[in-house]
Symmetry: C2
Subunit: 435 residues, 2 copies
């Protein structure tokens, strides 16, 4: 009748089966709880927006990375490619309804038609958190504390936050009289993680005299301690500035919160040509630095300038969830949970169906995630189903159990069996195993 | 410099501010916990797929409701318009990796370019749950139990599940010799909630003799009790069939689970021309039936026929989250929580900044969601911020508190003040209020 259609998916897109999605939801839930504990509230925005709103009026030519098209009403629309632009638009649209400062988080998918080589995906999940409407350094601090806490709750100890300050970089370039080349210098320095110091030096000498290039290389090199790096930055700027003082204050407060050791001043962090104006940061896993930054951001002067004349400064950060999950997988740090189901109630014989249904109901009422196998097949077949799904316990209610008012429980992972125990014992055992 | 772009969004699309998104996340979390407790695992699929995969090869002409376009690689792609088609595709693509029966839930956005009049949106969230790979009536039962439990955990008592059986309807049509008109009859009967019995009768007489039309009207009318409706259906089919026996068994099991009173056999439920073959159901809020079904579904014989020759039957249901939230809002059943933040730590004076930072940290460590106001502004200004955001408590650490090692807590909702209490007392008070 029907022609068979091949069930293929688009390049750069992925299905998420229970094994992956269960873990992803666990991570998202932990992050949400942490964001909430830090006073951040969730928002959501449309996946699809006017292209002019996402790209600005100037963007006549189509960016190859953007999914942009005409909808059935002829509107020029696009899928969001990040969560920052829609956030700026949301603030401008709802300015009068929002508390200021406004702390929001947004965990959602974004789409970019990127080259899919080197493990990049065209659909991926971002976790953004920002505080806007205030210049206060306490907000810089809170974003950094939240980054630290987020990795802590995810059980990732080996992490280093590399911080820098765009204002200090600019002060330095001005002092050296090379600020007119700042865009090119920033873009070049930003690549150091990928191309190395030697290549950065070579590129810089195409822009600057050898002497100035060397000065930039000196400037961006982190010293042994944060204190020394700070001293160097101050020296290279000619004096203590508002910016060096702010960075110094921030480090002092991080140390007072007893998390200072995880933060490293690294003046080579610039975040390229992004809209940042104050502190900027990237996050590297100590055991897998090559995967790149898993959480980046900074302070910006004026997020909403495209939509409103009101100046709204802020500071924020973004976790790339897919890259983080890939890294955790590689490091063996992902939980091995394949399913949320703790127990399979086996149906040995239709005669005990009513009892099995009641048992399932009681287990669920007691908070045990479980299901009843829907057919009275042989037990090994039912166990094998449980094992494929990853369900750790099988609960049996058959002839013997019905006669004695008990249940038999099998730990399918440890191959342990407890025959004809009471319902309460069964419950305690399953719960003790953390399910 | 920049031209200002109006921060407008597309018709039929919405921003979700913290007030709405906080509640939506609470609802989703409760549903996820319930789905998990019933043995369902989450999956996710791409928002964007090949149009041929979503629409089948036959669909040459563009469906006006579908967001369909050519991507930058020239592929004919579309945004998913439901979660059922991608689920079928996922099963066909990953058949060998999945446990069977396979229980999955999927909570995600879908997009349809529908007419936006009468409160319909072009982007909305569906919560689907299905069990595929088995014909067992125990799966029908579990889906219905899960529907009932989902509404219970959401605190919605006044709900009625209207059940019917497409097989019984077909048996009846065959017995009356009018099965050739079945598509038109089903489509007509499906409208009864909107157009009423009189209009259905009129439309049926355009298809059938007056006598047969009256018989259909008789057939679809629910009787006073489920027992009587069942007896009538059996009578209209000429005898007890596999289908009537199955519906009868199902009701018996629902009653054994002590939830039978919420389920009503309503033979006028057909789910139109959908792919259902067994039981079908819709869910109505007793106090707001006019909003339509908030949770619908049924049993299907062969979900994946478009992608594979293997026959994969199943049963499932779908909650329209946006419609449900709109209904709960109208009924005053939505929680009034505007924010997840329980306390604002006020910064009265920069001199006590370190103390305030430590206090914020201790509160967070104790599980209290809180934030520090980032500037030493006058207290009424800080309270007003808390009130706009919906934060119930303010915690003050100033001169007096620093001297006595205490804090002052203000309940901003009840306008209650407890001056200079211990940190532990403060904690207990805030926690007692459920935050």
């Amino acid at each position: 009748m029907n022609q068979i259609v091949e069930p293929k998916i688009l390049k750069g897109f992925r299905d998420s089966l229970p094994e992956t999605e269960t873990v992803k939801k666990q991570i998202i839930r932990k992050l949400e709880e942490t964001f909430t504990r830090f006073g951040f509230d969730p928002v959501d925005t449309p996946a699809l927006e006017y292209a002019s709103v996402l790209l600005g009026k100037g963007s006549g030519e189509t960016d190859k990375q953007i999914y942009r098209f005409r909808d059935n009403g002829g509107r020029d629309v696009a899928l969001r490619f990040d969560l920052t632009v829609p956030f700026a638009r949301l603030i401008a649209a709802h300015r009068s309804e929002l508390p200021m400062p406004f702390r929001r988080y947004h965990i959602a998918k974004v789409w970019r038609g990127e080259n899919t080589q080197k493990g990049r995906y065209r659909e991926f999940t971002q976790c953004d958190f920002d505080i806007v409407g205030s210049d206060s350094p306490l907000n810089d601090l809170d974003i950094l504390l939240l980054m630290n806490e987020s990795f802590r709750v995810l059980g990732i100890d080996g992490v280093t936050f590399h911080i820098s300050h765009r204002g200090i970089f600019n002060d330095f370039l001005k002092k050296e009289g090379i600020e007119t080349a700042s865009a090119d210098i920033l873009r070049t320095v930003d690549k150091i993680g990928k191309i190395g110091e030697e290549e950065v030096r070579r590129l810089l000498t195409e822009l600057l005299t050898a002497e100035k290039a060397e000065k930039v290389i000196d400037f961006i090199r982190p010293e042994e301690t944060n204190e020394r790096t700070l001293q160097k930055l101050t020296r290279f700027c000619g004096r203590e500035t508002q910016n060096t003082a702010r960075l110094s204050d921030l480090l002092r407060m991080l140390e007072a919160a007893e998390v200072g050791a995880k933060f490293k001043i690294n003046p080579s962090i610039t975040r390229g040509l992004d809209y940042y104006t104050g502190i900027v940061y990237e996050t590297f896993l100590n055991d897998l630095p090559g995967i790149g930054s898993v959480c980046s951001g900074g302070r910006y002067d004026n997020l909403t300038s495209i939509y409103t004349k009101e100046r709204i400064p802020g500071v924020g950060s973004s976790i790339g969830l897919d890259r983080l999950m890939a890294a955790l997988g590689e490091l063996g740090l992902l939980p091995g949970t394949k399913t949320g189901t703790a127990a399979l109630v086996c149906l040995q014989d239709e005669r005990f169906l009513d009892g099995c249904l009641r048992l399932t109901q009681r287990l669920r009422e007691a908070g045990i995630a479980c299901e009843l196998y829907p057919e009275a097949k042989k037990l090994p077949k039912q166990f094998s189903y449980a094992e494929t799904k990853g369900v750790p316990f099988a609960v049996i209610y058959g002839e013997a159990e019905a006669a004695s008012g008990t249940v038999t429980v099998k730990d399918l992972t440890k191959r342990e069996n407890r025959a004809e125990i009471s319902f309460e014992e069964a419950l305690a055992w399953i719960k003790r195993e953390g399910r």
